[in-house]
Symmetry: C2
């Protein structure tokens, strides 16, 4: 063997962003709570939770109280029933695997995993157009138009609709309720992908007319990866949580308690489910403080736009903490800089800030969720300082 095992020594596996302000768009909502950190070591071995599994499925375990937790998460989202999955992507796969016929209509800002869940289940994908630059908005009535288009092209209405409640590119918050209503009118079940909303914003599935709510524990519920949340209503539980019907032709073995699309028992046993649970009380609290997060986000935008050329892309005013800027002035610097586009990444890192994609200057994304006001100021001042150092004008 010629493996260099030394590179896997703990000293060589340090997290480069440790101790820094991390504004990476996908990281803010997944930072563990203190409570989750407390139980980390204890439940870290393999699938520790299965010590206590007596009914063959992780969501039925009574100690720790996962069976109760499942109900509480359903209540929190105002839906009937919940399962945990190997991420939101797995949750979308599970739902589509229960439909598996016809086509799915999704917003053109959907995450790639929404497209891929459809591809894997051989559903034809139709996109709801967005309004394009600079706001890239998804207008509810476009869903109805797209349903009609599908009907025209294929002879039937789509079997499923998906809306990305908050998209990963611009952090736009779509009018989920209006789109939910349209889907109800058409009798087309709606998946609401809340990877960037549930866990940080209040979500009431019933009010939004969602048939399925998909959430991401590691993105927005302060849990270790991977864990997704799949909530639905009783209309769909039989179909989506369907159980194995197979019987061994020689042995007669059957697995009637196992849920097929979850691979029998969803692989979240161990830290993912335990950290999700330990963080839950804080998550229930924090969603009520969303207004403060918006206040910080809007302040951040205002201050960033004091830098010459820097401008928010996506809806105005900002209704979410994930934001997308264009910065032609930074792009001009990059063109002449010996580090090219990487200069911004390095300048920020030198100031203790990570998460802006290395190499990006013309456009970049930032998530301010959960930053303190002091951290907000530090990030703004760093950007301003960098701009000034390179001769870009900054208002005051």
């Amino acid at each position: 063997m010629y493996m260099n095992l030394e590179r896997y020594a703990p000293n060589n596996l340090k997290r480069p962003s440790k101790g820094m302000i991390n504004v990476h768009p996908i990281q803010r909502g997944g930072i563990l709570t203190e409570e989750a950190r407390k139980i980390l070591e204890e439940w870290s071995d393999g699938y520790s939770v299965c010590d206590l599994c007596f009914e063959g499925r992780v969501d039925l375990i009574k100690t720790p109280p996962i069976a109760e937790f499942k109900k509480d998460v359903a209540e929190f989202l105002n839906m009937d029933d919940v399962r945990f999955t190997a991420g939101a992507r797995h949750a979308k796969f599970v739902i589509m695997s229960g439909i598996k016929n016809g086509s799915v209509v999704l917003d053109s800002l959907a995450h790639y995993t929404s497209y891929i869940a459809a591809e894997l289940n051989e559903l034809k994908v139709y996109e709801v157009p967005n309004s394009g630059y600079p706001e890239f908005k998804i207008e509810p009535e476009k869903y109805a138009e797209t349903f009609e288009k599908v009907k025209e092209e294929t002879g039937s209405y789509p079997s499923l609709a998906l809306l990305t409640h908050v998209d990963y590119r611009y952090g736009n918050v779509t009018d989920a309720k209006e789109i939910g209503k349209i889907c109800r009118d058409y009798n087309i079940p709606l998946i609401l992908n809340t990877a960037y909303s549930s866990g940080i914003m209040e979500i009431d599935g019933r009010k939004l007319y969602a048939d399925f709510i998909v959430g991401s524990g590691h993105k927005s519920w302060a849990a270790t990866a991977p864990i997704g949340i799949l909530a639905t209503n009783f209309d769909y539980t039989d179909k989506i949580f369907r159980k194995s019907k197979l019987r061994g032709e020689w042995s007669g073995r059957a697995f009637t308690k196992k849920e097929t699309s979850f691979f029998g028992c969803s692989p979240v046993y161990g830290l993912p489910i335990m950290t999700l649970m330990a963080s839950f009380p804080r998550v229930v609290e924090r969603v009520k403080k969303w207004d403060e997060e918006i206040k910080k986000a809007r302040y951040f935008v205002r201050k960033m736009e004091e830098i010459e050329g820097v401008q928010l892309v996506g809806e105005r005013p900002k209704n979410h903490t994930l934001m997308h800027f264009e910065a032609p002035t930074f792009h001009m610097i990059a063109k002449k800089h010996k580090k090219r586009g990487y200069f911004l990444y390095h300048e920020l890192k030198r100031r203790g800030i990570v998460g802006v994609h290395p190499g990006m200057t013309k456009n970049f994304k930032i998530n301010t969720y959960g930053l303190t006001w002091e951290e907000i100021e530090k990030v703004i001042n760093s950007f301003k300082e960098i701009a000034e150092n390179y001769g870009v004008e900054v208002e005051d």
Copy 2:
């Protein structure tokens, strides 16, 4: 809201087995190494690893050295290429999703997730019979017989074969090489499920004629759940690691780097991949010490069988640390005990030993992997003491 959030407080989420000797059949190989524990806190936030993802797939990340690690794991298993998955169950799903036609032949001791992966991909399942009580062995030639049977019944040979290298019921080690040869002769690709072998025993995929090796990080590679290992040869990489071909009909968006059956990018980003990597040097070492584990296991069997009525079920001599006992004498006690079958669980727990399924006495399973000789003695002495206390004879 009427949720009782207090039950999720860290103090109420303690691990009951903490500090005890855990002989649970699925837990021994997943206990974290010291090295993995060292990096736990640092990488615990959400999908921490994605801070450093610049190519859109976790297995391509260079810092931490996941891209290199992937190669090292392939070398370790003597296969060409590797991916990480949301558990061995997901790995089996991925492979079958790339085949998706015809039938699969699997051993009748296969884990339920092998059956369910087939069910989810609509493959018809045929079982290779085992020899039944008391050894439950899978004889290699039965694979050929079953292939012929499938050919007779369906008109074609199966599209896939699966062998559970070590089964979860009896811990029998099958003759993978002989079965591999048969599959090669028939030109039927073979999945070798090593959930209970790779990571604790040496596995050489090439020598065993395996086309696919599936492993479980949380079961046998000292990693946090969920993480599976999928290794294959270049013959199959295009098919099994196939990339997304979808294109958004309105937007033109495409995801050509994303691997479809892995949900685009496998959800192991964060602790699962980091702990697997941090434990790897130790895993590479420990597989070489398998002989010592067998020595302990055989000693354990011999001593347990000194208790009247207690007898190993499964192959003899024992070639693995996972073992299945029948104990009609304990069952007789249970019938008269006020705690019924739970008495054994409670008696063991009182002595600091957990992992025997609560309520089981007539048959129970134990895994001795990684127990020290002192712990082995303690477990044996506890069983003997319990037996004697209830008037069951114990040889000396």
